[in-house]
Amino acid sequence: MTNPITPELKLEIKLLIMETLSITGIDPNNIDEEEPLFGGTNALTLDSVDGLEIIMAIQRKYEVRIGDQNLARNIIRSINSIAEFITEEKEKSKS
């Protein structure tokens, strides 16, 4: 059974994104977890260069690999989709 995605993980992801992109002045609680991070109206909006930085930061921190950029685009769509991916990868590495 898949572990539930924890609020702690979502906060950790928000902080990782903010640290990676040197973003200050946004309260992580104001970042919507389902709203798209690209081209939407979220408190945090990113462009494709930010996206690549985030992919590399996620790879480093969670020791996962996101090779395919179409997959990557789906993974970094929102905070929830990133959290879902990391949780699934952690599960896979345990089994």
Binding site: S48, E53, G67
Partner: protein, 338 residues
């Protein structure tokens, strides 16, 4: 023709994805990395001054169409292909094939794929999708860049198939006509690897393969001479990231996809040495991705002074050295394999 529903899968690259999708739906078990590897898809070419380009550019894969042609010749598959002089004739023929239950790959201008977000769509005349059905004025489309089957208005598809400009599709379509019952992958894989090594190491053209990466490394500090202004230069430098990561490359200029191919080839050929080489190619891919991010960052920040371009040049030179070592070792590994 079979009435089995078309199985759609996302793909890393449109051409290898469309070929794989058509073959899988005809019952052939082949993966996208295998299509890429067997067709010697991995490549590098630097074009400093050519009539077709207004600014120096590069490619990281073989020519459009080559993946289909090489997979066909190496596996004994026959694809039927057609081009059309008028949109009416092209649409009529497509509708006939669809009515017969034949899924058909078509070449399109990516811009008209209006099911994709607007910010993703640019005019590129060499996108490939598979048309699997039609209802009323809407085609049912399998696009490897989209998570599920999707509808596209006939008017949009017509514009996309008959767009003008460089490499215009002219309604080009293809579908597998014959797939042998007994396919031997081993020889095809070896041929694919051998030719990739030749392209990367020995092709006697000074701007292709590893020589091309070195040429780009040497010439990139000159790029400001060809740019209209800083904005233009920034756009061109950021395009390095787009060409490596964002145009259906599977990440890091197809290097991750080639690593997966070698991993799968190791199992098929029973050559564990290829697993080690696959890991090396993954690391090479990571380094290309770092280069890609460096280019994107300096472009975005308009930090494009001579020192930064020298750094970018040095990163490219390292990639050339890595790939030269890698392909020499790959070539040695398969040298006596038949």
């Amino acid at each position: 023709m079979s009435k089995t529903p078309y199985i759609h899968k996302m793909a890393a690259h449109c051409e290898s994805g469309a070929v794989t999708s058509l073959l899988n739906n005809q019952g052939l078990s082949i993966t996208e990395p295998q299509v890429f590897g067997i067709s010697s898809g991995i490549f590098f070419g630097y074009f400093h001054k050519m009539k077709a380009f207004t600014f120096p550019t590069f490619i990281v894969r073989n020519k459009p169409g080559q993946m289909r042609k090489k997979v066909a010749s190496r596996l004994g598959i026959r694809f039927h292909t057609e081009k059309f002089s008028s949109p009416e004739a092209g649409e009529k023929r497509l509708d006939e094939l669809i009515a017969q239950g034949i899924p058909v790959a078509v070449q399109v201008d990516f811009f008209y794929m209006d099911y994709l977000p607007e910010w993703e769509r640019v005019h590129i005349n060499v996108h490939f999708i598979v048309i699997v059905g039609k209802e009323g004025t809407k085609y049912l489309v399998s696009d490897g860049y989209f998570p599920n089957l999707v509808n596209l208005e006939a008017s949009s598809l017509r514009k996309a198939r008959f767009a003008g400009g460089s490499m215009s599709p002219k309604g080009f379509l293809f579908y597998p006509e014959h797939i042998p019952n007994d396919i031997r992958y081993e020889k095809a894989i070896i041929k694919g690897i051998r030719q990739a090594c030749f392209y990367m190491l020995k092709i006697p053209i000074p701007f292709l393969g590893v020589k091309g990466i070195r040429k780009m490394a040497k010439r990139i500090p000159d790029w400001p001479k060809y740019a209209r202004d800083t904005e233009h230069l920034s756009h061109e430098i950021m395009k390095i990231n787009v060409l490596l990561e964002d145009q259906g490359t599977g990440g890091a200029g197809f290097r991750f996809m080639y690593a997966t191919f070698l991993q799968q080839a190791a199992g098929i050929l029973k050559m564990p040495e290829l697993t080690e080489l696959s890991k090396q190619m993954m690391l090479i891919g990571d380094k290309w991705r770092e280069l890609s991010l460096f280019a994107a960052r300096i472009g975005k920040n308009r930090d494009l002074g001579p020192e930064r371009l020298k750094e970018l040049s040095a990163l490219l030179m390292q990639r050339a050295d890595d790939e030269e070592r890698f392909f020499k070792e790959l070539s040695r590994t398969i040298k006596n394999k038949k």
